[in-house]
Symmetry: C2
Subunit: 227 residues, 2 copies
């Protein structure tokens, strides 16, 4: 279905944010998928929302699934890059320092996109094999959380150790920002990722007196490029 | 669309769990909604899955939305009744005791239904006004969590108080069982609600040494009728 006509005159003037027609298509699709639903949104609806012909849209994306796949990758790729930056930081960070920074960064990613794309994660339609690449990436992110969480638990000298099951919860706490955003679209959210990162520490048994320093370090780290 | 023909001979023999035809319809719809998607499932699909005529289905539910509404209520109603039982318990329970029991009970509800109905919560189609009654019930449950969480935070004599934002997290931690179940359908899950309840305590700053007693009290409470 690819076409070379992407340069043809547009039906209307550009009206969506983004430097390229591809970005405009993604933005329009994200709005429609998250407000009307994936199944109810056709590629024709998306083309109309952008103000381009369907043939132009097919120049960038062969199928509606391809658009969905690109959008879902946006929710994971920057965070996976951040994980690599954290791993390369010298002197090396402790697992708790890495996890606190990761949860804050990832939470901000989930909250600050224009549309709440994480709300699509639970759609039965997303369990399809054609999205296997996205799910593999997201599982890779979950396992990074899990490794850091386990190492954080192991580093706590506590008489009441938290169970192994707790190590999966920081990933889930960050993910819950998707639900919070869906339920309270108007709530002021900028402080939430930091609070979630603190909560991740408490869930893993990090003593309360150690958490303010972790928060301060994360704030410094996210204010300037890592590395 | 209601009909009086519900008693007519069935097309096939009964093959789903449930004591009534209504329960069979709900079970079939829950399976289809959570595996194929809500929009992709017609009332005809549901009738076929149960093995009844569409007219019989309309005797019980006027629209597909009515079926969805009944299913969603099932995810909230038993827990709201449990909240009332907890409130009436003598001698009165502390907020932490109530919250621990609530999180364990609610978590078990979300995990033990035959289908992962909570996976429907984020569907854009569910933000519709016709489901307002369900959303009001669920918000009522969230506010119960919030009240108990705030009271639990207030009761902690800590030099490092947790922020007000943390009070929304126990509800979200329990809800994350929906995501865990969707991601790991084969995982052994019976111990998870208890672990989530413990995590709720840690998120709210309850000292680690107080948590085993809370868990033991909840286990006793859920093993016998409350009251």
């Amino acid at each position: 279905m690819a076409t070379t006509r992407a340069g043809r005159p547009r039906l209307t003037t550009r009206r969506r944010p983004g430097i390229s027609a591809r970005d405009e298509i993604l933005d329009a699709a994200a709005e429609l998928f998250t407000t009307r639903g994936y199944t109810s949104t056709s590629t024709r609806c998306i083309a109309e929302a952008v103000g381009v012909r369907q043939a132009s849209l097919y120049h960038y994306f062969k199928t509606k699934d391809d658009i969905l796949s690109a959008l879902l990758h946006q929710t994971v790729t920057p965070t996976l890059e951040f994980v690599e930056q954290l791993a390369a930081t010298e002197p090396p960070l402790t697992p708790a320092e890495k996890l606190h920074a990761l949860a804050s960064f990832d939470g901000a990613q989930l909250l600050n996109g224009r549309w709440n794309l994480g709300a699509l994660y639970l759609m039965p339609e997303l369990r399809e094999a054609r999205l296997a690449e996205f799910w593999a990436e997201r599982e890779r992110l979950r396992l990074h959380y899990l490794d850091l969480s386990r190492a954080t638990v192991a580093a706590q000298p506590t008489a009441y150790p938290v169970g192994e099951e707790a190590a999966d919860l920081p990933f889930r706490l960050v993910e819950s920002l998707v639900n919070i955003r869906a339920a309270h679209p108007d709530r002021q959210r900028s402080a939430l990722p930091g609070h979630i990162a603190d909560a991740c520490m408490r869930v893993l048994g990090v003593p309360a007196e150690g958490i303010p320093a972790l928060r301060a370090a994360t704030d410094r780290r996210l204010a300037v490029p890592v590395g």
